[in-house]
Amino acid sequence: MSADAIVQVKDVGKIYDGGVEALASISLALPQGKLSTLLGPSGCGKTSLLKIIAGLIPPSRGEIWVKGTKVEGPGPERAFVFQDFALLPWANVLRNVAFGLELRGLPKPERDAIARKHIGEVGLASFESSYPHQLSGGMRQRVGLARALAVDADIILMDEPFSSVDEQTRRKFQEELLVLLRHKRKTVIFVTHSIEEAAYLSDQIVLLSPRPGTLSKIVEPNIHREGRSPDEIRRDKNYLDAVDEIWQILKHYV
């Protein structure tokens, strides 16, 4: 495994109660400061793997190591962005974003100041006192992202964050996400079922085969992104090759 791996997945398998085998023996190394995508058709256990890395569900076999420590549960170096946003409906944007810090016992003035900074970064500066039901799906997920950024974890785990967001919003959001995360040098682990999304965002794409999930292939798009516009990236030869390569593998599973 590479020396700069921040997350190591060692022979992880997951069998749910009732005997459904979601994952069968996966080993992986996820590099520090990069965006890695877990990609595969529905039922390949990609969300299970992400939640095992997060420490939210225990693996049936194998181990996860993060920054040289074995994972026994959630930890401060990992933050999670949920597919269904998981915002408190009775709390406004400010409190939702500050919620991770509230749970850590940070005094209110401090956590609000940190939350305001991150609300600004995700482009919701004027919505601090709005409630989740007053926001669109895309804006709600920005709140979810700001909450994850606010606790200043090294690793951001994102579970299909754009799946409940419409296509136009999704593209805009992807572009902003890319800029924001590269700027912050976070390690991101991203679950998606969209090939274009994976190829556009990732440094490394982990392809999983379905039922039970096993490691199929690791694709590294090697797209030069510095100083290039989103449209240039989408016309890049390496981007198009990566999309094609992934599709050639995934079409056998559909």
């Binding site: 997060a54 939210l56 549960g73 959630p74 930890g75 401060p76 990992r78 933050a79 999670f80 949920f82 269904d84 998981a86 408190l88 409906p89 009775w90 919620f99 991770g100 509230e102 749970l103 850590r104 409630y131 989740p132 039901h133 909450r147 606790v151």
Partner: protein
């Protein structure tokens, strides 16, 4: 833009509904369908005279006492118990079957038994309120706790919340609306309980007004007492429902965000 005409206003139709109801009551009373059924106008006069001579006020002082004590007891013990059932599997297994039976059973049938054990004092009346109101209050609190969005609990764990924080910051706020709705339903049951108790155990308060006026054949006064308790219960429950919508607007409740 089309202007909303008076015919499209809910208040208009509500007033029409009341006018029709009281109109038919007046007609039925004048017919008369029974000697013991007074028309609306006579009942209204009787009601006003009972308010004026203070007998209605005195009666309510007596009636509301056990009702309020009973509902307060239920709110403290019942909500506490329901929350306990929702949070602890052991308490749930131990007591859920009892409350399911209690909720389905016609609890009014227990009131003669309560009289037999506790006599005819205020204790028996408080108990009558409690046996009717408690099951729905307990069950609503329990369901409120159990309905917590699992995704929010997972979020709390992912951001390193303790079990205590999970309960205080996620589960209880999530359940608050359903618990409050349980209190409202409990109060409705409590009104039934207190009226039955005052008619069956010893005639006091409103129950006394109904029984006494019936025995001396003063039917307008008897109907005025009945109408007044219906009105008081309806207003109290309607008021709580409005308070509920104000405190817990549907779009800010947890339960609507499930799924």
């Amino acid at each position: 833009m089309e202007r909303q005409s008076w015919i499209a206003k809910p208040l208009f139709w509500q007033l029409v509904s009341f006018a029709l109801f009281f109109g038919f009551w007046e007609l039925a009373g004048r017919w008369p369908i029974s000697f013991a059924f007074p028309p609306f106008s006579k009942t209204l006069v009787a009601l006003l005279s009972m308010i004026a001579d203070g007998s209605l006020g005195k009666a309510y002082l007596l009636t509301l006492q056990p009702l309020i004590i009973g509902i307060v007891l239920c709110s403290i013990a019942g909500i506490g118990f329901g929350i306990g059932m929702g949070l602890s599997r052991a308490i749930e297994w131990f007591s859920l079957p009892i409350f399911i039976v209690l909720q389905a059973a016609p609890m009014a049938a227990l009131i003669p038994l309560i009289t037999y054990i506790y006599g005819i004092g205020i204790t028996a009346k408080v108990l009558a309120v409690v046996v009717l109101a408690a099951p729905v209050i307990v069950m609503n609190s329990y369901k409120g706790i159990r309905n917590t969005n699992p995704s929010l609990i997972q979020m709390c764990r992912a951001f390193l919340g303790t079990r205590r924080q999970q309960v205080v910051k996620i589960i209880l706020p999530h359940a608050a609306a359903l618990i409050f709705a349980g209190l409202r339903l409990g109060l409705a049951m409590g009104f039934i309980g207190i009226v039955i108790a005052e008619l069956l155990i010893t005639p006091t308060g409103i129950g006394d007004l109904i029984t006494y006026n019936s025995s001396v054949a003063d039917y307008p006064r008897m109907f005025a007492a009945i109408a007044s308790i219906v009105l008081v219960a309806a207003l109290a429950i309607q008021g709580l429902e409005r308070l509920e919508r104000k405190l817990f607007p549907p779009e800010m409740r947890g339960s609507e965000n499930v799924g």
